[in-house]
């Protein structure tokens, strides 16, 4: 008998002020740019300043986000059985600096710190080290399904009772060379766009950003519980005309129908070249369903779907869909079931199904 899986807490550091769980998108920060930095918390409240100085931005964001989730779940550090992190590029800032040092100094006078931190599993390793967690410690690095891979791994362990509480997160940091090169190939928008106008930009590319989202997933419901995780699936390829069919199949496999989805959260990022996938669903099978979107707030990055997951959990807990994320005018009074669909540039599609707990 498989156990149920619950999301017992959330933690977020993003381009919106999401690090404080007592607020839920009441004030939206309106950016007007092509690249968004996070709204940083006061790190001194979470990390000793001496330690923070040595930390990469991704580690700092993750530490705050993970601590927020741990505090909210009211679990002791030694109750965490596993740590699983998704990240597209890890601490890319350190990798970038190490490459620059290699080239500029002709492979000489190098120090190990940057190399050590550049390992993709640095965040998961550092959190384990900080918490003294000797359990399962995995890091997934597969573009925009990095976070979903981590969730899927956790879900499997919790269902099979191999673990009771797992800290699951997604993190990515933004750095200069990555931004500059992605501008060259048109993956970043050329012209600045205002937060609430991202979807109507009519241009190619996305607004890039960064963030860290951590959650405590357990096979028991705690007082802080946000939602039950029902299913997550990923597909490396999918054509636009197959999306609707895939969604219907996914729902039916999990004994749901289109009408039982109260809110669908879509990963639109305002890239005219690839938003068609989302429009297909929004104008088609989910035409009469309450629709939400989030990448105008979070920006696009490999683990941006962590923000989508955070949003779904918040909607289920607070029982309303904030105005700033509404994609259509269909109302929902008491949302019980939420489906998240995400993809990036037509690849790495994911479907995640959550239910009110």
């Amino acid at each position: 008998m498989k156990k149920s899986v619950y999301i017992n807490s959330v933690g977020s550091v993003s381009a919106q002020k999401t690090f404080d769980n007592s607020h839920f998108l009441e004030d939206i920060f309106n950016h007007n740019d092509t690249v968004l930095s996070i709204i940083a918390p006061d790190y001194r409240e979470y990390i000793p300043p001496a330690a923070a100085r040595r930390m990469a931005k991704g580690i700092k964001m993750s530490t705050v986000s993970a601590k927020t989730a741990m505090t909210e779940a009211a679990l002791e550090e030694n109750e965490i059985d596993a740590i699983i992190v998704g990240t597209g590029l890890g601490c890319i800032g350190d990798s970038e600096k190490f490459v620059i040092d290699i080239i500029d100094n002709d492979e000489q006078f190098l120090t190990p710190t940057r190399f050590i931190q550049s390992s993709h599993n640095t965040v998961a390793g550092q959190i384990a080290l900080g918490m003294g967690c000797k359990g399962h410690n995995f890091t997934y690095v597969h573009s925009v399904i990095s976070f979903e891979s981590a969730v899927l791994d956790a879900k499997m362990q919790l269902e099979n009772d191999e673990a009771n509480h797992i800290l699951v997160g997604g993190v990515d940091e933004l750095v200069d060379h990555h931004v500059d090169t992605h501008r060259l190939i048109g993956h970043i928008k050329q012209e600045a766009v205002e937060t609430m106008a991202v979807l109507s930009s009519g241009t190619q590319g996305a607004v890039f950003s960064e963030g860290a989202h951590f959650f405590v997933l357990s096979n028991e419901k705690r007082p802080s519980c946000y939602a039950e995780l029902l299913a997550v699936e990923t597909y490396n390829t999918l054509s636009q005309d197959e999306v609707s069919e895939k969604v219907a199949l996914f729902l039916s496999k999990n004994k749901f129908t289109l009408d039982t989805v109260d809110v669908v959260i879509l990963g639109n990022n305002g890239d005219v070249e690839f938003d068609g996938y989302y429009n297909e669903l929004a104008k088609g099978i989910f035409k009469n369903t309450c629709q939400a979107y989030f990448k105008h707030l979070s920006g696009e990055f490999d683990t941006a779907s962590g923000f989508g997951f955070w949003l779904a959990n918040q909607i289920l807990k607070h029982q309303y869909v904030p105005k700033a994320v509404r994609l259509n005018s269909v109302e929902t009074t008491s949302p019980k079931t939420i489906l998240i669909y995400n993809q990036y540039r037509g690849e790495n599609h994911s479907l995640t199904l959550l239910r009110k707990c």
């Binding site: 597209g88 599993n121 080290l129 890091t139 500059d180 790495n348």
Partner: protein, 399 residues
């Protein structure tokens, strides 16, 4: 005992051979693949020895029939090993059942990223490598090359235990019924990035690496790709598949001691091995041979040796590290050594720990140094990585 997951195919490319048969031939003839580096222009070329795959990129591209300079070397060698694994498992229609691909990599497309880091701005003709920096991009390309569609495809990067963890995830997904079949393993090519990184850590040997030797001077880096095909019992039955061996046990634990070094007594390693035995439903006495992580760094071999003594309660079975043959192939190592573990089981042969001369002062452990015949039932393979990551796999003849 608990049920294992069937291995129906394997493929490999390393410094000691372009396929499984060549690797086996090198292993039993003691032919190591360690030499001076010749394909990467590095200022350290006279101070280090590496396990380099002999074919150059143009040769590999030709073998795969792909255009010139479109892919990282990580992708090229990954495609070759994955292709061999599928062929070995006699899979022609990859999308006919729920098939997944899980690859481990740390380097990804870093070889191209470091080469064109500044060139991207002036040279549009090399911009295809910009997105190649994503580790997952290598897996994406391998999936595409294999024709895998609408499937579960992901990448694990836990440093030098990546491929072992990919095998572990694959086995768990088959067991839990999420996939019918999965291609698991890893791929990493040599790069200036890793050469210089390990150089700064002062753990690169300037000569042939000597795992578990008292005078060991550090590791030789290597490059490789290795994949296994795992299939569910239903698939094996339905298609009357030949089973090469079984993934019987697996365990991952974190040392939670230091970002790059292993704890003095190998706590994480002991935990990983204990977990793997528990999953397999075995006692430590059921293990006939250990393919050790054995990187030949002072720290690893001491920590791992102590962990082995703790786990086996002083009765450590025959063990060896095959890294003196291949070099330390980083993320791919767990895949490479999974293939070697299966070869050991199939042939009842244990491979020598090359270059070993002097026993370590700290304990009474001697690896096997000759090709040794022994009836093998269960082989344990360790892979440890940065971030305190410790992984153990147990391969068995019987389900």
């Amino acid at each position: 005992m608990n049920k294992g997951v069937a291995i129906t195919g394997m493929g490999i490319i390393s410094a000691i051979g372009n396929n499984v048969a060549e690797n086996y031939a090198s292993l039993i003839s003691g032919k190591k693949g360690i030499s001076k580096i010749f394909q990467i222009e590095t200022v350290h070329k006279d101070e280090i020895m590496v396990g380099e795959i002999s074919d150059t990129n143009p040769v590999l591209e030709k073998r795969l029939d792909v255009s010139e300079n479109q892919w990282s070397r990580t992708v090229l060698i990954g495609c070759l090993a994955a292709e061999e694994a599928l062929k070995n498992a006699v899979i022609t229609k990859i999308n006919d059942v729920r098939t997944g691909l899980i690859s481990g990599t740390t380097v990804g497309g870093m070889d191209k990223s470091e080469q064109y880091f500044y060139d991207y701005f002036e040279h549009p003709e090399v911009r295809q490598h910009i997105t190649g920096l994503h580790a997952g991009d290598s897996t994406k390309k391998i999936a595409k090359h294999l024709g895998l569609e609408e499937s579960f495809v992901t990448t694990i990067s836990t440093a030098c235990s990546s491929a072992a963890n990919a095998i572990m995830l694959g086995a768990r997904m088959i067991k839990s019924g999420q996939l019918d079949r999965v291609i698991v393993g890893g791929t990493d090519c040599l790069s200036k990035f890793t050469i210089n990184g390990f150089k700064t850590l002062l753990i690169l040997s300037d000569t042939y690496s000597a795992p578990f030797d008292d005078n060991r001077k550090g590791l030789n880096l290597g490059e490789a790709a290795a994949f296994l095909v795992l299939e569910s019992d239903e698939m094996v039955k339905k298609e009357n598949k030949k089973v090469l061996a079984y993934v019987k046990g697996y365990g991952n634990a974190n040392d939670a001691y230091h970002q790059t070094a292993s704890s003095e007594h190998g706590d994480g390693a002991v935990l990983a091995m204990e977990k793997a035995l528990k999953v397999a439903g075995m006692q430590s006495s059921d293990i006939d041979y250990v393919n050790a992580h054995g990187t030949a760094t002072p720290n690893n071999d001491l920590s791992e040796g102590r962990a082995l003594i703790r786990l086996f309660d002083e009765k450590v079975p025959e063990f060896s590290s095959t890294k003196a043959f291949t070099g330390h192939t980083l993320a791919a190592a767990g895949g490479v050594e999974a293939v070697y573990s299966v070869l050991a089981l199939q042939n009842n042969i244990m491979f020598p720990n090359l270059n070993y001369k002097t026993q370590m002062k700290e304990f009474d452990l001697t690896p096997i140094t000759q090709v040794t015949k022994k009836p093998l039932r269960n082989v344990l393979s360790n892979s440890f990585g940065f971030g305190g990551n410790c992984s153990t796999l147990i391969f068995s003849k019987e389900a």
